[in-house]
């Protein structure tokens, strides 16, 4: 049974606990500090929290299963930039935008995606990190650009549960990239996506796509879903190619997507009106759900604010638990909602939280 979730916010990391059948906010860690990402590792019960301290930089902490305290561990860091390097990007971690567990067969492996676009891998539960030079040194990186931030960043890391060496990452803005050899080599994997925000002759360029978020299905891992800057795409072959899904109601703009762990045809989205108007359509918060692979969608509103609601759900602000029914959603203006029936109805956990960057179940 799902009993715990985590909410990473601008002012701390909040635990959400199910007690006596009811979800309530519990202990707070790092109160007052920005927590940009949280990861619960099902392999060993550890939880990782990425801090983005305003003065003192990016830090990473881990809480082991059963431990009472958090322990600071190494944070990803770029190597020293060569003096003759022409790369205009500063080789400093701006913040950790994604964390993902390696496969079940590689205990201790953790992936981290960062701004300004570096992907890191740890084999020792975060005690040390290695920059994936194979991706960082790709000539195409010079064409990447910021999406939401002034530098590019890696926000999505999908590890194929059938083959831990098969990993896909999503980059805003640099498309999707895949490795089949554990990171030794990478190739673009955004064929089929289209960028409406660039001149038409560049629209199909895989390297300039802005996939806001890419999420896979645990039990049907070939199926990936992408909430893109200007639409929704899905893949039936782990990103080898992508098909646009145009049936979503209200808007095709948004950031978050969650995928049913056991059914890759079921996915949830949190649409916003438009790029230039990042509020819910008609100021009424709605989650959209497809259960047939994107042929049709249902707009889910029960329990969500339907008047004067201006909440925006960021990339990592929507998550589904292993049971495929329990959903958690949180916004940039501190709204937190939970559903225990696949989104059919929602309960407000809080409407006065700090801005939320990420949620996850444990």
């Amino acid at each position: 049974m799902t009993e715990r979730a985590w909410i990473a916010s601008r002012k701390g990391l909040f635990e959400l606990l199910q007690q006596n059948g009811r979800w309530t906010l519990g202990p707070i860690a790092f109160l007052g500090e920005p927590v940009s990402m949280v990861l619960a590792d099902p392999r060993d019960g550890a939880v990782y929290a990425a801090l983005n301290l305003g003065h003192f930089g990016v830090k990473l902490h881990r809480k082991d299963a059963g431990a009472a305290q958090w322990t600071e561990i190494a944070a990803p860091a770029y190597p020293r930039k060569p003096e003759d390097c022409a790369d205009p990007v500063d080789w400093t971690v701006r913040f950790i935008w994604s964390l993902a567990c390696g496969g079940a067969d590689e205990p201790g492996v953790i992936w981290a995606g960062t701004l300004p676009g570096g992907l890191f891998r740890s084999t020792d539960r975060g005690a040390s990190w290695t920059l994936m030079h194979s991706l960082w040194d790709a000539p195409e990186r010079s064409e990447w650009f910021g999406g939401g931030y002034d530098v590019p960043g890696i926000h999505s890391i999908c590890v194929d549960p059938r083959d831990s060496r098969h990993v896909l990452v999503g980059i805003s803005c640099g498309g999707a990239w895949v490795t089949h050899d554990g990171g030794a080599s990478w190739t673009l994997s955004a064929r089929g996506m289209r960028a409406n925000y660039l001149p038409p002759e560049r629209g199909d360029d895989q390297n300039v796509q802005d996939p806001h978020r890419i999420v896979g299905a645990r039990d049907t891992p070939d199926q990936l879903w992408c909430q893109h800057h200007n639409g929704i795409w899905r893949s039936a072959n782990f990103g080898a190619d992508w098909q646009e899904v145009s049936a979503a109601p209200l808007s095709n703009f948004g950031f978050a997507v969650a995928v049913h762990p056991a059914d890759g045809n079921t996915a949830w989205f949190a649409p916003a009106l438009a790029d230039q108007t990042r509020i819910p359509t008609d100021a009424a918060l709605t989650v959209t759900r497809t259960t047939d692979g994107g042929r049709s969608f249902t707009a889910l509103r029960a329990g969500l604010p339907q008047q004067h609601c201006y909440d925006l759900v960021y990339r990592h602000g929507l998550a589904v638990a292993d049971d495929g029914r329990t959903l958690l959603m949180a916004s940039t203006t501190g709204g937190v909602w939970l559903s225990e029936n696949g989104g059919d109805s929602w309960r407000t956990i809080s409407s006065s939280m700090p801005p939320v960057y990420a949620v996850c179940f444990q």
């Binding site: 301290l53 305003g54 003065h55 003192f56 930089g57 830090k59 600071e72 944070a75 860091a77 770029y78 190597p79 020293r80 930039k81 500063d90 080789w91 400093t92 971690v93």
Partner: protein, 89 residues
Amino acid sequence: MATLIFTPQLARFTAAPLVHTDALTLRAGLEAAFLGNPRLRAYLLDEQGCLRPNVAIFIDGHAVRDHVRLDTPLTAHSKVHILQALSGG
């Protein structure tokens, strides 16, 4: 010996006691502090060795503007305050 005085805000994250050093430059003085607590380095400097943008350092009351070389001379009587810049929120 020069004295390095760290903002007490650092103590929320890592040890940063007073440091007395005969270092002749700011960077050497910081390195002396890092010898006592290696973790302190990443709180003050980024991975390129530059002072983090929102860390402020004053030497005998004068703000250090250079965040790259950190080669401002220290004297035996220098008082170095390492503070949070207000720009960091």
